[in-house]
Amino acid sequence: MTAAPEQQAEPEPDELLLGFARALRAAGLGVTADRERTFLVAAATVGLGERAHVYWAGRATMTSVPADFPVYDEVFERWFGGEAIPRGRRVEVVRPPVRQAPLDGGDGHGGEADADTLEARASAQEVLRHRDVATLSAADRVAAARLFASLAPRSPLRRARRHVRSTNGSVDGPATLREQLRRMGEPGRIHHRRRGVRPRRIVLLVDVSGSMSPYADSLLRLAHVFVRSVPHVEVFTMGTRLTHVTRALSERDPDRALAAAGRVVPDWSGGTRLGEAIGAFLDRWGRRGMARGAVVVVFSDGWEREGPEVLGEQMRRLAALSHRVVWANPHRGKVGYEPVQQGIVAALPHIDDFVAGHSLAAFEELIEVVSRA
């Protein structure tokens, strides 16, 4: 560690700059050694004469998302304002570094553990799979959390722009010609091709408001399984505001991932402004491309604090942009449920699949629906 600059001895410029980079790292920015080096070269290039130049040189080389800017600004002010950051103090760490292997229930160890479980245990798991996750006891909850590792989501597929070789399908001109080229112009076998497939993007919008709080933990675990096992997954939580939690959920260990998400989401168990949250998603991410052609899954009970008109309108926009909209409602799986909440009534015309989302078995069904979309 570099020593904090002392008042009496004027520090060397490179020491001062390197110290600044280290302070940024301590504050949670991803400042790697190569970024440090780039920053030093950049600072030397713009010169140290002007404070603003050093500021912009540092910002261009050591930040990578707009969310880094406030942290950068604070550290810059403290460092070059003469006030050093006391050791051990952290400003606000967005995502903690992981150096720990999963203790249990993490992916990778599932198969081993399953192999030597007793039959009785297996049938208990079977019961657990069909129980409403909101009514589980603490012990069952732990067991259920382990079962999440057995869920295996698959990506829905779309036709790709590129072609792949095939034994049937349209004639592949270039490949046939290439074959001919190999034979010095003699006609050879005719090659065929068809369109390849690529995974579609999946967007999960999880309602974490008060009425959904018994399910929030399980739904985020499900989201974590999605993020970890298939490509192109984005997760948002909706409450009084919309939070992008994909990064937090990309931790390997489910419990750590959930804890990281918990730190990022500011509005657990608050009210719901479902329509506005979906609108915010569409404005900031969806319309720019994230929702285009994607399979969007909304996890919510449809309780809407505001009027249902906003939700209806935003669901219409969502349906217009995305490939398929799936709504998972925990109450759907209960006996005697009727979709009568104003919110769900307004949203229903714009939903392609309306599924349950209250137990592990229901989650499996949901995974099936998504992969077939």
């Binding site: 991803g30 790697t32 190569d34 970024r35 780039t38 070269v41 950049a42 290039t45 713009v46 603003a52 130049h53 912009w56 040189a57 910002r59 261009a60 080389t61 930040t63 990578s64 998302v65 707009p66 800017f69 790709a160 722009r161 590129r162 270039p174 010609l177 290439r178 001919q180 080229l181 010095m184 112009g185 690529r198 490509p231 984005e234 994909t246 990064r247 404005d283 991410w285 319309r287 720019r288 491309g289 994230m290």
Partner: protein
């Protein structure tokens, strides 16, 4: 070409000469990019002049601008190079026809080899933007909307952007004598990989403030009267600040709108002419309806 700019201020002046007004931050980042031979990664709202920076840079430095528009599914053959198969076949057929017509058959092994190497020749190579840029350097390479391309493409770009060279198995390695100035733009529909970001100088472009935007309109469209320009810019700034639009207009839309007003011969912005030309600034039916209803209030506020 050692250093194209001597300082950040020189960047501002040079870009200003082409009608692109860069603020201090963008000028510093651009200056660093040219000095350190690093790509610039620009993110920001659509219509804030990300693409225009590359165009202005090319114009200011009198360099060629080579543009690679990214899209979902783009791959190396569209970015780097491809062989022109139809022309190669045509060449083969021509050779065949010539040998048949001539009385001497030339099917000795040596000739076959010569013929093969003839096929994989420069003239059958279709250079795509990245290869083109490496060959034409110094030039400006614009990689537009990188967030639309897939992850694998990013990894591939990373390789080119760090070594400034491309290997073609049949021909050999093409490397740039001086690295091109590379501008990458992204609309943030997805997060880019950290590895790519680390290679680049990162900058976020915001919508400009009132004074700066007015300056931009005045420089880009000198034919628009000062009074009209001010009215348009004030109104656009108000629209952006209102926060209720699906797609707030960017600087590009402001310019379009001012140009539209000038074209219809308006000398000042009133509710009637604004409503008629609103399509230049707002691209959603919901937005237009909402703003049309409150135009009077917005104009007098």
């Amino acid at each position: 070409m050692d250093h194209v700019f001597s300082s950040a201020d020189a960047v501002t002046t040079a870009l200003g000469g082409t009608g692109y007004l860069a603020d201090d931050a963008l000028a510093t980042v651009t200056f660093l990019a040219t000095r350190l031979n690093r790509p610039i990664l620009l993110e920001g709202e659509p219509g804030t002049g990300k693409t225009a920076l590359a165009e202005a840079l090319a114009q200011a430095l009198d360099l060629r601008l080579i543009r690679l528009q990214c899209y979902e599914g783009i791959d190396a053959t569209q970015a780097l190079y491809d062989w022109d198969f139809p022309r190669q076949i045509l060449h083969l057929r021509t050779v065949e026809a010539l040998t048949r017509d001539g009385d001497i058959a030339r099917d000795t092994p040596r000739d076959t080899q010569a013929l093969e190497s003839e096929l994989f020749d420069e003239r059958f190579l279709l250079a795509r933007p990245v290869l083109e840029a490496l060959r034409a350097a110094p030039c400006v390479l614009l990689i537009d909307e990188i967030d639309r391309a897939d992850d694998e493409f990013e990894a591939f770009l990373l390789e080119v952007l760090s070594t400034w060279q491309v290997t073609i198995p049949e021909l050999g390695t093409v490397s740039a004598s001086t690295p091109p100035i590379v501008v990458l733009t992204s609309n943030r529909t997805r997060e880019l990989h950290d590895a790519l970001k680390r290679r680049c100088l990162y900058h976020w472009i915001d919508h400009p403030g009132l004074a700066r935007e007015l300056e931009i309109v005045r420089t880009r469209l000198p034919e628009v009267s000062a009074a009209l320009a001010e009215q348009v810019v004030t109104l656009v700034q108000r629209l952006r600040a209102s926060g209720e639009l699906i797609k707030p207009p960017g600087v590009a839309e402001t310019l379009d709108w001012a140009r539209a007003l000038e074209t219809v011969g308006a000398t000042r912005l009133d509710a009637e002419v604004a409503a008629a030309t609103l399509g230049a600034a707002l691209k959603y039916r919901e937005d237009s309806e909402r703003i049309r209803a409150s135009l009077d209030k917005l104009l007098t506020a």
